[in-house]
Symmetry: C2
Subunit: 379 residues, 2 copies
Amino acid sequence: MNKFERAQKILKEINGDGWLIVCNEDSDINSKFLLGVESHALHFIFVSTDGHHKVLPVEMEANMIRKSLGSKGINAEVISYNTLKDLISKLKPIINRPKIALNFGENILDPDGTPYADYLQVGAFFAIKKINPNTKFISAAPIIYGLRSQKSSEELKDLRNVCKATIEILETIPNWVKVGMTEKEVMAKLEYEYSKLGKPSFPAIIATGIHSADPHHNTSTKKIEPGVLLIDTGMQIDEMCSDITWTFWIGNEPPEDFIQAYQTLYEAKEIANKYYIANTPNHIPAKECRKYLSEKGYDHEKLFFHGLGHSLGFEAHDIGSRIGWKVSEHHILKENMVYTNEPGLYWLDKWGIRLEDDVIIGKDKCEQVTSVSKEPIVI
Amino acid sequence: MNKFERAQKILKEINGDGWLIVCNEDSDINSKFLLGVESHALHFIFVSTDGHHKVLPVEMEANMIRKSLGSKGINAEVISYNTLKDLISKLKPIINRPKIALNFGENILDPDGTPYADYLQVGAFFAIKKINPNTKFISAAPIIYGLRSQKSSEELKDLRNVCKATIEILETIPNWVKVGMTEKEVMAKLEYEYSKLGKPSFPAIIATGIHSADPHHNTSTKKIEPGVLLIDTGMQIDEMCSDITWTFWIGNEPPEDFIQAYQTLYEAKEIANKYYIANTPNHIPAKECRKYLSEKGYDHEKLFFHGLGHSLGFEAHDIGSRIGWKVSEHHILKENMVYTNEPGLYWLDKWGIRLEDDVIIGKDKCEQVTSVSKEPIVI
């Protein structure tokens, strides 16, 4: 089954007549997921329960979309439009159905809400309601979750491939990173290598010294200095993203407190791994990881102020709940979900360390598809 | 006045009590515009009419945001949160005001609507309404338009700088682009150069041969072949983006039909330039450009199937109406707006040409800040 057919199957289960995706300026990644190509201008995709799927792009993107759908064997009619008036007249009869799923999340500030489905913008929503005032609009969360949370064997193959390729690039870092290069230069070189094979799955975080204490540091023009160098980066090839963090030490022998924290994080990550298995609540790996950090004398509430992991897939932050010690117990890991395992320790006025690997949830154990170094790599 | 103060001023004019920005996974670029840093996790920014501005990030991003605001001299309190429950309890008293502006567009499918303000997602909107059921929510379109459509002298300085730097990189292309490189390799090399100075302002379009007939072609692993090579690319440094398209000929002498189309497009672009002036309706430059193409024997309706230009600024597709022959006459160019001027001609089963420059709207004439070659560059 192709993605349109899989979506159609879920639509039937939720008694919907169609799934409408509205995408403008890349506002909804589910468009690229379905079309296999990035359409930047305002366009609509209608996956129909009756199998008569439609795509409404602007004229300048129609040819490219037709070719992409054709290459994937997807049977969807591509109807291009010229003006907004033209668009409305073509869209109206297509979506004139009793019950249509749209990409909005429900109760997104509740622990059991569906924020991962929240793509549609408010203005677009009211414009669609105005076109079809009698239609009932429901959240497409079950469709998005069904299509993207548990990965297919093809997707897992892509994941192993992109992780292997990313590691091969990361392994070259000690050969070319030097004191005095800027963080941006390191990012540029890494992303140059990615771009030859695929593309960066998110802007790389290159954090030297005190910058490593900010987990989401924005890579800057600061020069690499002796001490900590944290690199959080990933690539996308085909359908899947990698997301890996390595923390290096630049210069002479690292100090004892760095080595100690590094090794403890590595062990905490190994312990968490044991709980990345199907039917385990998402909060368990995080609790076990934090318990170990505590036992080793680290004040985890103060020093480890982010979640342990997130879903990984077509996006670096993919569909489904995070792994965190405060995540509601209703969220349960399932086979073939893919997650990061990334404990960190940060001293705000000093430095931070994060070690991040990617894992596939298995029935009895996880498959770790990346592997940070057990001992700190000294450059 | 800093950006918060400018927003506060517009808020007073529209009788709003505050402007609330909700941003999750980079869903609203106005967050980065205000904070000066990319905060990826769910966060809220409240620009208050009374001057007591607040930012509510997750704990892991609070330090970085505090530093960025401090470096810009912005007086806003940063209050971090831990859990969604914690977030709601901190957000509720801050936004408990009668009238709050949110980033949603109105009548986005009408020619006079405000699609450029449409950032807020549906689920987030209803979650906020639930927190404050008595608040009246209005569109923040006037604030976004006021802050970002007409550029400041500082922004225009950044624009000239980024355009100059981009051109210097594009001028090296004939030295290293060779037949047999892939499109992705060309993109990787260009973006590598950008990343050392800033970052790509959008994923470069590298289109060889027949691919150049798709104006928004997704750069692929196809090898560069003799014939047309279309490169549409740009960089962002500081506050402004460049967006430039050069069309090359690879190999021996270009054929007469290519030279003819190239020269006609260059002339059509020059003609359009004369109308990129303040108080001119947005549709005029496009009409004059198309009139000239027609006179030269090109069926513009069939061969030039996209708009002539778009607003350029903090984003490659920035705030305000496009330049197009069907754009409503209510849209008028203003001084210090920045636009692209990018006529193209495309033969779907053959190739396409697009020539794109960036211009600043002036009182009596425009300032063109980039310059495509008058004659085709042969590599």
